[in-house]
């Protein structure tokens, strides 16, 4: 069968580009170093979110923020970038807490989102309980 395209060209091209990106530092990961990083990610006006209280997971991969109206947004690492998402009441499926051996607590947030539906935060026990309540009481 005559193909309209020699597949070696695009496949070889893809391999060459990916190899070069890998060699030039394309595997780096972003991190949320503190509340300022999370606040900066949430400052984009299209998110419509004015962050007040912020909690950053001890692993630097996820953060939660709450505004004056009780809305909560999540900031998370997406490769080399940070992404942010405002949560709605109907979107949240479950918020569970799991005690860890070092005294910290893992908060797991499960949402209905099709992409990146679950978030995990490592927080101190008091903070985890407080954020669980915030997440269970999201306004519509």
């Amino acid at each position: 069968m005559d193909l309209p395209l020699d597949p070696t060209l695009p496949l070889g091209g893809i391999a060459a580009i990916l190899l070069l990106v890998w060699l030039t530092g394309g595997r780096r990961q972003a991190a949320i170093a503190g509340a300022d990083d999370a606040a900066a990610a949430l400052a984009a006006p299209e998110l419509g979110f004015a962050a007040g209280e912020i909690a950053v997971s001890q692993d630097g991969r996820t953060a939660l923020a709450r505004d004056d109206g009780g809305h909560v947004a999540v900031v998370f690492v997406s490769g080399a970038r940070l992404a942010a998402r405002k949560l709605t009441a109907g979107e949240t499926i479950a918020v569970t807490l799991t005690p860890l051996s070092d005294g910290a607590v893992r908060l797991t947030l499960a949402t209905r989102a099709f992409t990146h539906p679950d978030f995990h935060l490592r927080l101190d026990a008091a903070g985890a309980g407080r954020w669980q309540r915030h997440l269970m009481e999201l306004p519509q």
């Binding site: 091209g13 990106v21 530092g25 006006p45 299209e46 419509g48």
Partner: protein, 302 residues
């Protein structure tokens, strides 16, 4: 009359796509810019490869439809350079409206959103192309060109030329070009605006080759150095899985339809603007821009 066949510009351009992307990776590295990310680039390139394959599979249906429309043509336009020149503008006009509809109505946004889903803006982003655009019948918009009398082979060729043109504008490595070029053509600067989520830039600069359509139809926004572009979509995916990138908005439409309280809501979820909600509180581009303007005005009044 059967039109003579012309080469596919996209297939011919593949070596240039690869070469320019390699060059951009090296320039970005030299400038110490984090322009490329491995998983993001892999996702974009896989999206482009599958788009190429589905385009080949769909070519027969589109070709047959163009030929069928051409049999009912209004004029017998000759197969020559003047006709191609006229088609250069006519096809670009169609592209403008195709692109605008793809942003303003959710069913077509679902097919197009994957192209905007990267938080990076580089030449690999240009290749992050749709898998579902042909299924969403977007190609129907090109049939009137055949009805007018443009030969189908020229239409398909020009569609490819337009796609190839739009490759090089997906870069941050080129700043502003000379004023006359920026006035007439779609450029990296204009297209950066198009890929930005900043409210002032949302749903602007739909042009393919000529930016004049945006200026004519009120959708133009100039890049403002004081406001750097934030790339991606308002609700970023957080995924590099090509399947999720290709189908996420279709899945979300299905979910919204299941909970739609009535037919009006169902219609709005499918054909309304992205972000539309039945209660009128959806985060559509217009709503986000209005909120941003209100905040700007409030800040200026203080």
């Amino acid at each position: 009359m059967t039109s003579p066949m012309l080469p596919d510009p996209v297939i011919l351009a593949i070596p240039a796509f690869v070469g320019l992307a390699v060059l951009e990776v090296l320039i970005a590295r030299w400038r110490r810019q984090p322009a490329y990310e491995l998983k993001d680039t892999a996702a974009s390139l896989i999206m482009g490869l599958v788009n190429l394959v589905q385009g080949i599979l769909f070519a027969g249906v589109i070709w047959w439809s163009l030929e069928a429309a051409y049999r009912w043509r209004l004029f017998d336009l000759p197969f020559n350079g003047w006709t191609w020149l006229a088609l250069l503008f006519a096809e670009d006009f169609v592209y403008y409206w195709f692109h605008r509809l793809s942003h303003e109505h959710r069913i077509w946004w679902a097919a197009h959103v994957n192209h905007h889903s990267s938080q990076h803006y580089n030449l690999s982003t240009a290749l992050r192309q749709t898998w579902t655009g042909n299924l969403a019948l977007t190609w129907v918009l090109w049939l009137p060109l055949a009805l007018v009398g443009f030969p189908p082979a020229l239409i398909v060729f020009q569609k490819g030329v337009s796609l190839v043109y739009q490759f090089w504008i997906h870069t941050e490595q080129i700043g502003r070009l000379p004023r006359w070029i920026e006035a007439v053509f779609n450029t990296p600067s204009h297209h950066r605006v198009h890929h930005a989520t900043n409210p002032r830039y949302l749903d602007r600069n739909y042009a393919g080759i000529f930016i004049v359509w945006d200026k004519l139809f009120g959708s133009f926004a100039a890049e403002d150095a004081a406001e750097p572009c934030r790339y991606g979509i308002v609700k970023n995916l957080g995924s590099f899985n090509p399947l999720r990138i290709a189908f996420h908005e279709w899945v979300e439409i299905g979910r919204d339809l299941r909970r739609a309280p009535n037919l009006r809501a169902a219609w709005g979820y499918v054909f309304g603007p992205p972000g539309w909600r039945p209660d009128g509180r959806g985060a559509t581009s217009d709503a986000l821009r209005a909120q941003w303007r209100a905040a700007q005005n409030e800040a200026a009044a203080q």
